[in-house]
């Protein structure tokens, strides 16, 4: 039993309250509310840490922990288990994610105090950051798919708002729109998946679904995780929905670090980890959906190398990191896919499931969050100093910015996977598991080769970035200077983590213990540093070193100038292809402008001509009727009324003419009247009497 369960709600409520407060009165707070947001996130971090320690003590070292904090019943239902609630789930995975997210958010928010100091619109920035953090914390602590989806969409909204923070820049506005629209494609798939889950199970709770899995047909068991993975592909910028992430670098660097490196893009990995309930069915007699697993692993492996190649030619320091993020996320999906395949085969063979790939992927998520946030924030520090993103205008900054250059070196070593930095352990483990699964399905051998090539490219582009930025001669303008300590201190903390987060597995006796995804698999073997995989580790370390050496020769000593490659015809074609991002963005744009705009134009025509025609015709008909009625009203009705009055006037006029004022003419009338009366009495009287019979 967790102590002080109710506190867990404050993990979400603190940033949410900060969002409301800063959103409403941020202008009057110090630093545009930045201090409030940092405080709130720090509060979330402390509470998360408190629960994480409890989870650890309760038995993460050997046993799975699962707690459900029932909250507000949103849509009640008479059938138990089918009501939709807003509830929290605290288990190994979510406790770890809560700590990770709140810790990184806190550091990045502190860094923002320095980085965003001179910006306009700070209250907006901090309010959106707070809302984002609430969304991310809600995503990783949701206990059902609907709640997860809601917080997932909140994150998407904040991502959109923050990419477009400098909305007056057309590129930023366009990037925000692109990010929103592209991730929406994935979100729709995710939503369809959630609806199918609801239709099939009548519940959206992870644990309930896991125990009722036998009701699914094999086809649906393949389709549902693929739909969920579709959402993950959008959010984690995997091929083919990767196009938005490089453009998202138009936002502030802190946003890139927080949302597009450390947290939100990891939500896709988290979702796929949660969908292991489908990928690796824990109920007997249910065949695991191997096709879905293969798709996930293949997309991950392909995206890893695909995006790493594009990072090699990018000159924008942040875009290199963005491509690298996509590539590393690809590693995570590859690890999850390989892990799921491994577990599922072992379960099918009746053996003990081995969670190596699963925990390696999440381990890489954990490490990557630290070192990629570090790299982005270091890049932000550099950009802060030289006021440009273009690495061609940097160089030689190591002399001016010793702290930034050192911490960024730590991040680069971690990303490249050099022992003892964290990337070495998790990336090596992912590759090792992929190689191991190759024995079951040879596709994974191909993916392993792709992964090793990616490791080489990763080391190469990472050190290309580092050498171009910090070595050689300064090619820019002005005098770069080191950033203030409010920025460098978070960097140093993160650098420390980039170094030790890989070593943490030793005291934890393997990372697998931290991330069991459900109770049934609590007694899995410990997975940490793979002692028996020295050769595989040596290969991944070797290619990384090769990559660094190549980068050193090309960009630091310039013994082999890069131009030699781009000048040859084949090389220049490759260079153009990579710079153009394989023309995929262009293809999407063309698709958008040709097909979608074509359809839109067609619909527009239909709308204007047909729909508007009908509407106009109805309008004209109404107009004609109204005119007719108007004429009838004016001519006939008014005619009658006017005629009556006119005739009355005329008649009265005529009669008035008879009032001559001549006494004698009146006398004539009197005489005439008398004559008439006499005539009536003496002529008509007898006739009437005869007719009346009297």
């Amino acid at each position: 039993m967790l102590e002080n369960e109710w506190l867990a709600w404050f993990i979400l409520l603190l940033p949410l309250a900060a969002f409301v407060v800063v959103g409403l009165i941020g202008r009057r707070l110090s630093e545009g509310g930045g201090h409030v947001v940092v405080g709130a996130i720090a509060g979330s971090f402390v509470i998360s840490l408190y629960f994480f320690v409890q989870v650890l003590q309760e038995g993460a070292l050997g046993e799975g922990v699962f707690h459900r904090l029932v909250g507000y019943v949103w849509l009640p239902s008479p059938i138990s288990g089918t009501q939709i609630e807003i509830s929290l789930q605290i288990d190994n995975l979510s406790a770890l994610m809560l700590v990770l997210v709140s810790f990184l958010s806190m550091l990045i928010a502190i860094y923002s105090l320095g980085y965003m100091h001179e910006e306009e619109g700070k209250p907006r920035y901090y309010a959106e950051i707070a809302l984002f953090v609430a969304g991310m914390l809600g995503t990783v602590s949701a206990d059902n798919f609907l709640q997860l989806l809601i917080f997932w969409e909140i994150m998407g909204l904040c991502s959109y708002l923050l990419i477009g923070f400098w909305y007056h820049k057309p590129e930023a506005a366009a990037a925000a729109k692109k990010a929103f629209l592209v991730t929406r494609v994935g979100d729709v798939l995710f939503l369809i998946g959630v609806l199918i889950i609801w239709n099939q199970f009548g519940t959206l709770r992870f644990t309930e679904i896991a125990s009722r899995l036998s009701v699914l047909s094999p086809e649906l068991l393949t389709i549902i995780p693929l739909l969920l993975f579709g959402g993950a592909v959008g959010k984690s910028a995997q091929f083919p929905l990767h196009a938005w992430l490089p453009d998202a670098m138009e936002g502030p660097t802190t946003v890139s670090a927080l949302i597009h490196a450390a947290t939100m893009v990891k939500a896709g990995v988290y979702l796929t980890a949660r969908s292991f309930i489908f990928l690796v069915p824990a109920v007997p007699n249910v065949q695991a959906p191997f096709t879905a697993i293969l798709v996930i692993a293949a997309i991950g492996g392909f995206t890893a190398i695909f995006s790493a190649t594009m990072a090699v030619v990018a000159y924008d320091i942040k875009r290199v990191l963005a491509f690298s993020t996509i590539s590393q996320l690809g590693y995570m999906f590859l690890g999850l896919g390989a892990g799921a395949y491994l577990m599922a085969t072992e379960l099918a063979n009746g053996g003990e499931p081995n969670s190596a790939g699963y925990s390696a992927a999440l381990y890489h998520l954990f490490n990557h969050a630290f070192f990629k946030a570090l790299l982005f924030l270091s890049a932000g520090s550099v950009i802060h100093a030289v006021h440009t993103n273009d690495m061609r205008e940097m160089g030689g900054l190591g002399k001016h910015m010793p702290v930034t250059s050192t911490v960024m070196l730590a991040g680069a070593l971690a990303l490249a996977g050099i022992i003892p930095f964290s990337g070495f352990f998790s990336k090596g483990e992912i590759l090792a598991v992929t190689f191991e699964v190759g024995a079951e399905n040879s596709v994974f051998y191909v993916l392993y080769v792709l992964g090793v090539l990616t490791a080489f490219l990763t080391a190469f582009y990472t050190f290309r970035l580092w050498f171009m930025t910090f070595r050689g001669e300064y090619r820019g303008h002005g005098h770069p200077h080191e950033s203030p300590s409010v920025m460098t201190v978070p960097l140093m903390i993160l650098a420390g983590f980039a170094l030790v987060s890989g070593l943490l597995v030793y005291p934890m006796q393997g990372f697998g213990n931290l991330v069991f995804y459900e109770e049934a698999h609590a007694a899995l073997p410990l997975v940490g540093v793979p002692i028996q995989e020295y050769l595989l580790e040596a290969i991944s370390l070797g290619v990384a070193v090769l990559g660094i050496i190549l980068a050193w020769t090309v960009y630091a000593t310039r013994r082999i100038p890069a131009e030699r490659f781009t000048r040859s015809p084949g090389g220049s074609f490759v260079h153009t292809m990579l710079t153009k991002r394989y023309w995929i963005d262009d293809a999407y744009d063309a698709l958008g402008s040709r097909v979608v705009y074509g359809m839109a134009r067609g619909l527009d025509w239909f709308d204007r001509k047909v729909i508007d025609g009908i509407v106009d015709a109805v309008g004209r008909g109404g107009m004609a009727t109204a005119t007719g009625t108007d004429v009838f009203d004016r001519k006939v009705i008014d005619g009658i009324v006017n005629g009556l009055s006119l005739e009355t006037v005329r008649t009265s006029w005529r009669w008035r003419q008879r009032q001559t004022g001549q006494v004698q003419s009146y006398a004539w009338v009197v005489v005439f009247g008398i004559v008439v009366v006499v005539a009536l009495v003496f002529v008509f009287g007898p006739i009437l009497r005869l007719l009346g019979g009297r």
Binding site: R656, Q659, G661, Q662, V663, Q664, Y666, A667, W668
Partner: protein, 100 residues
């Protein structure tokens, strides 16, 4: 005894003469005189029927009529005098204020 018819004829003749005066003459004095003639025609009728029926009440009405005629002449002449003072004439076709 004069037959009643003669008397009635005379009365009718007087009425016609009076009507002619009233309707055709312009001078107000003449018109007033013509009205007196019409009045006298009716008085003659009263008297004639009184004799024919041997009833004295007709003669009483005749006397009353003569008194009324005298009063009428007085009032009429006063009006004419007043009209003459305001309009400067008693030609009836020139006095046209009795209209709209």
């Amino acid at each position: 005894m004069i037959p009643l018819e003669y008397e009635l004829l005379l009365s009718a003749l007087l009425l016609c003469i009076g009507l002619y005066g009233v309707l055709a003459r312009r001078n107000a004095i003449i018109v007033l005189m013509s009205i007196e003639i019409i009045l006298n025609a009716s008085i003659l009728n009263f008297v004639a029927f009184s004799a024919y029926n041997n009833s004295p009440s007709g003669q009483v009405f005749a006397l009353l009529g003569i008194a009324v005629a005298a009063a009428e002449a007085v009032v009429g002449l006063a009006i004419f005098l007043s009209v003459y003072q305001t309009h400067g004439t008693i030609e009836l076709d020139k006095i046209r204020i009795l209209k709209w």
